[in-house]
């Protein structure tokens, strides 16, 4: 057993782990270790070879690998230790981590832990697509890794299910590679990725976007041969007679991401059912004191810029050894039109950075923050759609808030 004592241990060397690690070091943590299960650093970034990273944060549009390299360089400069090909097996409420790598079992004791495990992709069975079980069905991220990292061509005639950013990016990528991208199928009446990607990935290359459609059957005994798609009504029920069969050899699934919290659940960290991630306070501390969460395992972020900003906050407070005792804790409640809001609780008077998602597109939206029915704060936004996380800052004085804050959005 290899025994390690650290100040901060971070699980995951993706953008969340990297940003929080650097922040923890810069805010006084002496020994910071980052564990990652792969033999590279950067998590998902090395396979995201497209640009668009860092636009808000740095004023430049970098590719995924370049963005990762910036943080990795900064991390190395600050003597942050990386243990790669290292898998965390479990951790407990006493902040003891058991991990394993080629050198053996590791027992890591830390003052703070930052969870940055990222997320996994929804599978065919999460949305129960019936039909045969041939080869040729990939989640978009896996197809991306084969194409961009391993120099493997995954198919010739591609259909993509889901118009989220990953699916759109892959549509363009595979079109560049000379593959026949037949279209993107989207169940909603609007594309769920950024408009920039709809334009630059689909419109630019005349790749059709089948809105209000879903995949109803997969056909192919050995390799995928065709896929049936059909139109749906506003309740997402298939409209009779609209089914058509599209001949293809590959189906890429871009149907949603699930924050990866198996370790968190085993350690009995409280999870928010709406985000899929841990319930956190304004410093991104979870229900276990000393364990913080950031990145896509906390919530699925739209841009790495927002993700890094919150991750830095998590790192900053994970570096603090002596924590103030809890005075009070107020809950932040998602009200009308809000799917979820982070943080879910506040236990310190300070400026709080809120991130939330709305349930449906809202024109001329106004954020309202209420305490005991009394309006506390309100802000007019230009627009609000579920695909775009809404962020705002608010100074919170616990003495001024009654029991909880209710945040809602109306038009």
């Amino acid at each position: 057993m290899i025994n390690i004592n650290t100040d901060v241990t971070i699980i995951g060397a993706g953008p969340g782990g990297l940003a929080s690690a650097v922040s923890a070091k810069l805010n006084g943590a002496k020994k910071v270790i980052v564990l990652d299960r792969n033999n590279w650093l950067g998590g998902i970034l090395p396979q995201c070879i497209h640009d668009g990273f860092g636009v808000e944060e740095l004023g430049k549009s970098l590719t995924g690998p370049e963005y990762a390299d910036l943080y990795i360089t900064e991390a190395r400069k600050n003597k942050i230790e990386f243990l790669t090909e290292t898998m965390v097996l479990n951790f407990n409420k006493n902040l003891e981590i058991t991990a394993v790598n080629k050198k053996g079992l590791l027992n890591i004791k830390s003052q703070s832990i930052i969870l940055a495990m990222g997320c996994r992709e929804k599978t065919r069975w999460n949305i129960m697509i019936p039909g045969d079980r041939p080869s040729g069905i990939f989640t978009a991220g896996v197809a991306q890794s084969f194409n961009n990292l391993y120099n493997i061509r995954i198919g010739k005639k591609i259909l993509i299910l889901g118009s989220g950013d990953v699916g759109l990016i892959m549509a363009r990528r595979l079109k560049f590679e000379g593959l026949d991208v037949l279209g993107v199928v989207e169940i909603l009446p609007y594309g769920s990725g950024l408009p920039r990607n709809i334009v630059q990935c689909l419109d630019d290359y005349d790749i059709p976007l089948f809105l209000n459609h879903t995949v109803t059957e997969i056909i192919g005994r050995d390799r995928l041969e065709s896929v049936k798609i059909a139109e749906v009504d506003k309740n997402f029920k298939v409209i009779e007679g609209t089914e058509k069969e599209i001949s293809c050899d590959s189906l890429l699934l871009s149907v949603g991401l699930i924050p990866e919290n198996e370790l968190s659940k085993e350690a009995k960290i409280k999870i928010d059912k709406n985000t899929g991630g841990p319930i956190v306070n304004q410093f991104f501390e979870t229900s276990i004191p000393g364990i913080f969460a950031c990145g896509n395992c906390l919530q699925v972020y739209d841009t790495v810029d927002s993700l890094s900003k919150d991750a830095k906050t998590a790192g900053r407070f994970a570096a603090i050894k002596k924590r103030n005792k809890l005075n009070r804790e107020i809950k932040v409640i998602p009200g009308k039109n809000i799917s979820y809001i982070i943080p879910q609780k506040i236990d310190n008077s300070c400026k709080v950075h809120f991130t939330l998602r709305v349930k449906k597109p809202i024109e001329k939206p106004i954020i309202k923050v209420k305490s005991k029915g009394i309006k506390f704060y309100s802000k007019q936004l230009r627009f609000a759609i579920p695909a775009n996380m809404v962020e705002f800052d608010l100074d919170i004085d616990l003495d001024e808030v009654y029991k909880n804050l209710e945040v809602s959005i109306g038009d």
Partner: protein, 488 residues
């Protein structure tokens, strides 16, 4: 042309059981399997239940082989190293009317020689199964569970260790009888054999037709399943069956825990035309979940991680009532042609007993001399996640690949994947890896591990990416390289 004593068509659980029995004797035996691995037909796509014998008509071969086989499974598991768990079964009745059916079942069971059966009341059921409610239940302690693919692989790999040849991706296209030899034509060459065993499952009629006129029909009957996430494993402890329903359109779905901690919902029963039509259907998936929730209301909606279907080889049509006994016999027209037809449930349980019966039939033709150097290899592949810390550390010291986890959901190491790919059958598909070491069977369904397994196949086993398959001979995963070096 290679001359064999015995040729077996079909590498499912029946063919593999027979092969293992054959491997104990001084014989040249061969198994022709058309898929890329053993068990890839119906043998891997069932509930994995070791039946007690209460479900088979008294006096039938099904009942006989089920009860005999049931007793042989545990010693076989200990010998060959596959997992078995005697979780027992509750057949639940909802009311007094249904409870009468339980009386019928217990009677049949006792007539078939099944021991330990008893009827218990709902309260007793609730004590052992807090999430299940019912009026009365039949408790069947001799019912158990296994992993049917693990069982088949253990038999086949042990047979291989003892020199039975398994020819994978080898499909029999024609058979003729010349003098005392069967001439067998396959896509991998021609062979001849003294005896021919037809254990080809759904293709059993096609094989018979190559030599004689069949006096039976095969009626494929598809059963769909849903697989629940392991995190719900504590919802039930034993198998939970409802009383067989009389209402049309009601499946009477079973809930079966698996060795690995998943729960299986199913199977359905749908007569189909095409024996290769293994698709899952929207209708059945919905019905399975609906009926499962009636038995077990605490099943969450988002608990399904996978779905699959298996096809039963029935010898009676839906109109005929869908029940027929096994046909296990030596052909009167072609001496030495032994047929195993219609081996549906309880075929998994009956396999060891059926194999012994086939050996008896073979012994009438050939003098069977036991092998002096017969080896038994405890097939059970070590699972890192089940070892103690001390064992884990020792293994990593010996071979660092035990410290590299490539399947996060099931905590499977690189060493286990390499071990799986090094199997004596030479099976190298992604599914072959999955069924031997479990990588890819978790909730992310290969989202993380697939790229790592492919890398191991490429680098360690020198496999060409164009040859990499998911499961069947034509299920290629890839279409070459994204970039190639152009010759200047």
């Amino acid at each position: 042309m290679k001359d064999f004593h015995v040729a077996v068509v079909g590498g499912g659980v029946i063919g593999s059981s027979i092969a293992w029995e054959l491997s104990k004797y001084d014989l040249n035996s061969v198994v022709f399997e058309k898929e890329c691995d053993v068990a890839f037909g119906t043998s891997k796509a069932n509930s994995g239940v070791i039946h007690s014998g209460i479900n088979s008509a008294t006096g039938s071969l099904k009942a006989k082989f089920c009860v005999e086989g049931n007793k042989l499974i545990e010693p076989l598991a200990n010998k060959l190293g596959f997992s078995v768990k005697w979780v027992g079964k509750y057949v639940i009745s909802k009311n007094e009317k249904e409870a009468k059916e339980l009386e019928k079942l217990i009677k049949i069971g006792k007539e078939n020689g099944v021991s330990g059966l008893k009827i218990v009341d709902g309260k007793e059921v609730n004590e052992k199964e807090p999430n299940i409610s019912g009026y009365h239940a039949l408790w069947v302690p001799t019912a158990g569970i296994m992993l049917p693919y693990e069982f088949t692989i253990a038999l086949a790999e042990n047979a291989t260790e003892n020199n039975v040849k398994f020819l994978l991706e080898t499909k029999v296209s024609n058979i003729t009888k010349k003098d005392d030899r069967f001439l067998i034509k396959t896509n991998k060459g021609n062979f001849q054999s003294q005896l021919l065993i037809n254990a080809s499952g759904l293709n059993c009629k096609k094989i018979v037709e190559m030599l004689e006129k069949p006096d039976f029909n095969v009626y494929p009957c598809r059963g769909e399943y849903l697989v629940l996430d392991k995190k719900y494993s504590n919802l039930i402890n034993s198998m939970i069956y409802p009383v067989p329903p009389k209402k049309l359109g009601v499946l009477g779905v079973h809930l079966t825990p698996t060795i690995e901690g998943n729960i299986l919902i199913g199977p359905s029963a749908e007569f189909i035309n095409d024996p290769e039509d293994k698709k899952t259907t929207k209708n059945m998936m919905k019905t399975l979940l609906k009926e499962a929730k009636e038995l077990l209301p605490s099943i969450p909606n988002d608990s399904i991680i996978s779905a699959y279907s298996g096809i039963r080889c029935k010898l009676a049509s839906s109109e005929e009532g869908g029940w027929a006994d096994y046909k296990i016999y030596e052909s009167k027209i072609n001496s030495g042609f032994i047929n195993l037809l219609g081996i549906e449930s309880p075929g998994l349980t009956g396999a060891p007993a059926i194999a012994k019966e086939v050996i008896k039939m073979i012994s009438r033709h050939i003098d069977l001399k036991p092998k002096k150097n017969f080896k038994t290899r405890k097939f059970m592949r070590k699972r890192f996640s089940e070892m103690s810390s001390k064992e884990q550390e020792e293994l990593i010291k010996k071979d660092e690949n035990w410290g590299r986890i490539v399947c996060r959901c099931e905590q499977i190491t690189k060493a286990e994947v390499i071990n799986a790919l090094s199997n004596p059958l030479g099976a190298k598909t992604l599914s072959s890896v999955k069924f031997r070491c479990r990588a890819g069977m978790g909730r992310c369904q290969g989202g993380f591990c697939t790229q790592h397994i492919i890398r191991i196949m490429e680098k360690r086993f020198d496999m060409d990416i164009n040859e990499m398959k998911l499961k069947s001979p034509n299920s290629n995963l890839f279409y070459g390289r994204a970039r190639n070096l152009e010759n200047d």
